[in-house]
């Protein structure tokens, strides 16, 4: 058996995600959704608090995903990455939707 290049699954690094929605807009199959809210963060020395987005939930519907990798390429913060796991099957249609915890648990390719 020869080693072939392998396509894995798409993982998320939640701490690097700024909820900018670029990946959500660019996905051809509309398989990414996210919820976020903004918070004011006071920084020592700064005159005004800074507004930051906080990610509440990030999901990829792998039932729709065609693994094109556009989201991985367009993310300005490298918060999405390929992980070597295989496609996870499910006993129900909603089981194909993976949320933040699962996406973050996948080991990322180095």
């Amino acid at each position: 058996m020869t080693a072939l290049p392998r396509r894995g699954v798409i993982a998320l690094i939640p701490d690097d995600c700024t909820s900018c929605l670029i990946c959500v807009q660019e996905c051809p199959t509309w398989c990414i959704s996210l919820d976020s809210h903004t918070e004011q963060v006071a920084e020592p020395g700064a005159r005004r608090p800074r507004t930051v987005s906080v990610l509440d939930r990030f999901t990829i519907d792998f039932g729709l995903c065609m693994y094109c990798g556009i989201c991985v390429d367009v993310c300005p913060f490298d918060a999405l990455a390929w992980a070597p796991d295989v496609d996870y099957s499910a006993a129900s249609r909603p089981g194909l939707v993976q949320d933040t915890g699962t996406l973050a648990s996948w080991r990322i390719d180095d």
Partner: protein
């Protein structure tokens, strides 16, 4: 109507599965890939009946093919239906096409959904042995 082939699963040699591959598009090739990779070992008919039969719907279900899918389901009674790949699971890349049925589950009940466009051959094995890391353990 649709012919099944019996395979032994390499990593679980006691598991002999008959796969009826209803190949409707690109995903149909992955069974053969799994054989080439040594993940599935074709069995001779003389080796006796398989433990179970899986109707693998691999590829895009288009509107004119609905009667074909229905007939295939009836032709392998007792088979579990596997939606293999994004197209068979949800319509996949053709989710907005007016002539595509968004998932074989709109035609017949599905026992297992396998994502991927196409799924990797290893994903076929995972699905056949019922391994599912993130599925709440419904194996």
């Amino acid at each position: 109507m649709i012919e099944g082939r019996t395979y032994r699963v390499a990593e679980a040699p006691s598991l002999r599965v008959q796969v009826a591959n209803l190949g409707l598009a690109c995903c149909a090739l992955e069974v053969e890939s799994a054989v080439r990779m040594g993940l599935l070992i074709p069995e001779a008919e003389s080796d006796g009946p398989a433990e179970r039969t899986v109707l693998l719907v691999s590829g895009t279900v288009t509107e004119p093919l609905v009667p074909v899918v229905e007939a295939a389901v009836l032709s392998v009674p007792g088979a579990s239906v596997m939606a293999f790949g994004a197209c068979a699971s949800t319509g996949g890349p053709y989710w907005d096409a007016p002539t595509v049925v968004n998932g074989v589950d709109r035609v017949a009940p599905v026992d297992r959904y396998v994502p991927g466009c196409p799924p990797r051959p290893d994903a076929l094995i995972d699905a056949l042995v019922g391994r599912s890391v993130v599925d709440g353990g419904s194996s």
